[in-house]
Amino acid sequence: MPEQLIFGMEVFLNGLMAGVLYALVALGFVLIYKASGIFNYAQGVMALFSALTLVGIMEGQVPFGHLVNAIFGTEIHGFGWHVPAFAAILLTMGVMILLAWCVQRFVFRDLVGQEPIILFMATIGLAYFLEGVGDLMWGSEIKKLDVGLPQGINAVIDETTFEWFGYGFFIDNLDIVATIIAALLVAALVVFAQYTKQGRAMRAVADDHQAALSVGISLSFVWVMVWSVAGFVALVAGIMWGTKSGVQFSLSLIALKALPVLMLGGFTSIPGAIVGGLIIGVGEKLFEFAVGPLVGGATENWFAYVLALVFLVFRPQGLFGEKIIERV
C-alpha cells in the first residue's frame, strides 16, 4: 500500500475522533434549540465553566478566592482538601443545574416571545457573563484536569496496524474513550427523550409551546430541565477537552467550531449533530493533510466554516434539518 494512503487513513481516523468531540458540543446546542428555540451561543462557555468548576472542586479551591484576597487583603488560597473525581463531578452537576435554574429564572423567563435573534444575542451576553464569573471564581490560569481517563497512544492499535501495514497508527486512548462516552451519551439522550415522562414533555414543548402548556406541561420546568441536560453535555465535553488540552479560555472557542457542525447537520437533529461533527472533523484533518502544506498550513482555522458556507448555499436547512417553510 502506498505510504501516502496509509498516512491518509491515520489522518482520517484521527479526524473521526476529533469529530466526535465537536459533535459532543454540538449536541448541547441541538437540545436547547429543539426545546426552546434558543440558539445557545454560551454552550462552549458552559463547557469551560463546568470544567473550571470541576477542577476547582477537585483541588479544593475557594470560590472567588482572588477577589476576596484583593478586597480584604486576606491570603486565602484553598481549603486544602482533594475531592475524589466522582464526587466532584456530581457536585459540578449540581452547580450546572443551579446555573440552569438561574438562566431560566433571571434571563429567559423575561425574554419569552422575543425574536430568535434577540434570544441569540442574550446568550452571547450570557457567554460573556459566565466567562467573567468563571475566571473570577476560579482564577484564569491554565489548569490541568485529570479525572482518571486513560491518555497516550493506544498500544493495541499501534501494534496491530504495524503488523498490517508496517506502520503504527497514532490513536490517543482519550479519543477512544471520548468516542465511547459520546455514543453512550447519545443513546442515553435518545432513551430519555423517547421513553421517559420528562423526555416526552420535552418533545411536546419542542413541538408546540402553547399546546404543551394547554395540556398541563410546565414550560419553566421543562426549560430548566433542558438547560440542565445541556449543562450535563457541556460537563462531559468540558472533561474531554479539558483532559486533552488543559482547562483554559480557548475551551470556549470550541463552541465556535461546533457552529459549522450544526449548520451542516441541521439545527434540529441529534443524528445531524453527530454526522456533521464527523464530516467536519474528518474534512478539516484531510484538507489540512492534503492541501495545507500547499497554502501555508493552519487551514483548520477556517475550513469548517467555509465548508459549511458552501454546503448551505445548496441546502439551506443542513443535512437532516427540517425543511424551512416560510409564509407571509
Binding site: A70, F120, M121, A122, L126, G132, V133, L256, N301, V313
Partner: protein, 358 residues
C-alpha cells in the same frame, strides 16, 4: 417649552424633509459639531485622544457600518473583524504602493475594496437566512484573518508578519506614523466620522434605506411588494463594507500604527462591534454612536475605578468587565430590546410634552 415643532413654520419641501425637523434638535446638532470641531482639538491631550476619543470615533464608523447591515437590513454578521482587516490591509497596500497619493484617497479606496469583499461574502445571504447566515459570516472572519496571516504579499514580506503604518500627511500635518499630534489624529478621524454619519443618515432616510427595512421586517413580503432582494441585500452588504473598511483602515493607520491580523482583527472585534449596536440600538445611527461611546468608555471607567481608586489587580478588573458587559447586554435586552437609542427617543417624546404631560 423649548423642544417643540410649534411655531417653526416650514415653507418649502426642503425644509419639511430636513434631518432634524425640530429647531432645538437642529441647534443641538450644530452645537455638537461646533464643540467637536472647534473646541475639543484645542483642549485634548494624548491620554484623552488615545484612550477614549480615537477608539470612540473609529468604532462609531464601524458600528454605523454594521448597523446598516444588521440593524437596517436585518442580516446578522459576525465577520466585522475580518472586514476591518480587509480595510486595514488594503490601506496598508495602497499607502506603500502609492506614497504620492493623499492618505484620504487611500482610506476611501480601502473602504471600496472592503465593500467588494463584503459583497462577495454577502452573496450567500440570498439563500441563507438568520442564524445560518450569522454562522456563515464567521467563515469570512476566519478565512480573511488566516489569509492575511499566511500570504506574505499582504504584509509586504516583512519579517515580523506585522504591518506598520508609514508617515503620511494631510496639508503637511502628519496624521499617521510615530510623529503625530493628538489633535491631528483626532481631527482626521472626526472628519471621516462626520461624513460617514451624514451619508448613512441620508441613505437610511431615502429609498434605499426603506428597501433595507422592508427586507429586514419580512423579506418575502418585501419581495411581493416589489423590492428586489438581490439589490437590497447586496447594497446593504456593500455600504456596510465600505464603512467597516474605512473604520478598519483608520484603526490600523491612525490609531494602532502597527497591526497583525489575528491580534487586532480577531473574532472579539466582531463581537465588540455587534455589542455596540445592540446596546446602542439596532436600526439607529444615533444608537451606533451611543453604543460605541458606552463600550469604549465603560472599560476606561472600570479600570480607573477598580485599579486606580480601589487598587485591585488588573486581571480581576478585566474579569469584572466581562461580567458587567455580559450582564448589561442581558439587562438591556430584557428592559429595552431597542437599546440606548430607544431611551433617547422616549426622552424626546417626554420632552415635547414637558412640562404639561397631559
Amino acid at each position: 417649552m423649548f423642544y417643540r415643532e410649534a411655531g417653526d413654520f416650514k415653507t418649502s419641501y426642503k425644509d419639511d424633509n430636513q434631518t432634524f425637523p425640530i429647531k432645538f434638535d437642529r441647534y443641538r446638532y450644530y452645537a455638537v459639531l461646533f464643540v467637536a470641531f472647534a473646541l475639543v482639538p484645542f483642549i485634548v491631550n494624548d491620554y484623552w485622544v488615545n484612550a477614549m476619543l480615537l477608539p470612540f470615533l473609529i468604532y462609531s464608523i464601524a458600528a454605523i457600518g454594521l448597523n446598516i447591515l444588521t440593524g437596517y437590513c436585518g442580516q446578522v454578521s459576525l465577520g466585522t473583524g475580518g472586514f476591518m482587516a480587509v480595510g486595514a490591509y488594503a490601506c496598508y497596500k495602497f499607502m506603500t504602493a502609492f506614497p504620492e497619493i493623499s492618505i484620504i484617497v487611500h482610506v476611501i479606496l480601502s473602504g471600496g475594496v472592503t465593500a467588494a469583499v463584503c459583497i462577495l461574502f454577502g452573496l450567500p445571504s440570498l439563500r441563507i437566512k438568520g442564524f445560518y447566515l450569522a454562522v456563515a459570516t464567521l467563515a469570512a472572519q476566519f478565512f480573511l484573518v488566516w489569509l492575511f496571516n499566511r500570504v506574505p504579499w499582504f504584509y509586504n514580506y516583512s519579517a515580523s508578519g506585522q504591518i506598520n503604518a508609514p508617515e503620511r500627511t494631510v496639508l503637511d500635518i502628519a496624521v499617521t506614523g510615530p510623529n503625530t499630534d493628538a489633535w491631528a489624529k483626532y481631527m482626521f478621524c472626526l472628519v471621516f466620522l462626520t461624513f460617514c454619519a451624514l451619508i448613512a443618515r441620508n441613505l437610511t432616510r431615502g429609498t434605499i434605506g426603506r428597501t433595507w427595512m422592508a427586507i429586514r421586517d419580512m423579506d418575502i413580503a418585501a419581495e411581493i411588494i416589489g423590492v428586489n432582494p438581490l439589490k437590497a441585500k447586496i447594497s446593504a452588504f456593500g455600504v456596510s463594507g465600505f464603512f467597516v473598511g474605512i473604520a478598519g483602515a483608520l484603526l490600523f493607520a491612525v490609531y494602532l500604527g502597527a497591526a497583525e491580523a489575528g491580534d487586532s482583527f480577531g473574532i472579539t472585534k466582531s463581537f465588540l462591534v455587534l455589542f455596540m449596536i445592540i446596546i446602542g440600538g439596532l436600526g439607529s445611527i444615533f444608537g451606533s454612536f451611543a453604543g460605541a461611546a458606552f463600550l469604549v468608555l465603560l472599560p476606561v471607567l472600570l479600570k480607573n475605578v477598580l485599579v486606580g481608586m480601589l487598587g485591585w489587580p488588573t486581571d480581576l478588573a478585566a474579569h469584572l468587565e466581562f461580567i458587567i458587559v455580559g450582564g448589561l447586554i442581558i439587562l438591556f435586552l430584557i428592559l429595552e430590546p431597542h437599546g440606548l437609542a430607544q431611551l433617547w427617543r422616549v426622552a424626546k417624546e417626554k420632552l415635547r410634552l414637558w412640562p404639561f404631560p397631559h
